[in-house]
Amino acid sequence: MVQLLYFAWVREMIGTDSETIALPAEATTVAALLDWLAARSPGHAAALADRSRIRVAVDQNFATLATQLAAPREIAIFPPVTGG
């Protein structure tokens, strides 16, 4: 199982700050996971509509759309950070 975490307006549009999922077989990369997630609900679809405004961290390390997913435990999805 993978813990998904959402922050800022991604969290607000999806409507929850976290969910636990079984990683689907086709989600071999960050890009594929986002495609799969966008189909889960209208909120997910809206939050993830513009991929250029989405950033991802896999097990607390920044990832790209091309990052391979090898048994991740925690994936965070959020807007570009705005700093402190």
Partner: protein, 157 residues
């Protein structure tokens, strides 16, 4: 020697800059320079409040990582980085970077390096509330990214 020359903390409550600096300087007579930077919430254009959201474990880990990087880049500099999160009103202190070093150039440079990173790359998301009741998430800024980029262009000392 402490384990790390720089400490990093995340907290909701205010910080005490004088106490943090005193802790750095305690028992030392080799430090000729102490710099303290405090960032405050500005009431620009009718801002009523600022809420900082963060990714608890990752934000703190990244703050400690950049602090360790500063320690490696400026040996002999010690410091403390404290960032607040949650809802803050105009005028409230939001971030503290305090450094101390034998000489002032290192103390200033390390503090500025840490602030440039914190203002750009630290995993925080800011939501602004306005006097008219509206609110919105802040977009990432180009000017802060430029300030952070200069540190990559400068050769390491």
């Amino acid at each position: 020697m402490t384990l790390s020359a720089f400490g990093a903390r995340l907290q909701v409550e205010p910080f005490d800059a004088a106490a943090e600096q005193a802790a750095l300087l305690a028992g030392r007579t080799d430090l000729g320079a102490a710099v303290c930077f405090t960032g405050l919430v500005r009431a620009d254009d009718g801002l009523a409040a600022l809420t900082l959201e963060h990714y608890p474990a990752m934000t703190l880990a990244q703050m400690q990582a950049i602090a360790d990087k500063a320690a490696a880049r400026w040996p002999g500099v010690i410091g403390t980085v404290i960032h607040r999160h949650g809802r803050l009103l105009p005028g409230a202190p939001i971030v503290l970077v305090t450094t101390a070093a034998p000489h002032r150039a290192d103390a200033f440079a390390a503090a500025q390096y840490l602030m440039d990173w914190l203002k750009t790359h630290a995993p925080f998301w800011k939501r602004e509330e306005w006097a008219d009741g509206t609110s919105k998430w802040v977009d990432a800024k180009a000017s802060d990214n430029d300030a952070a980029a200069q540190w990559q262009a400068t050769p390491a000392p």
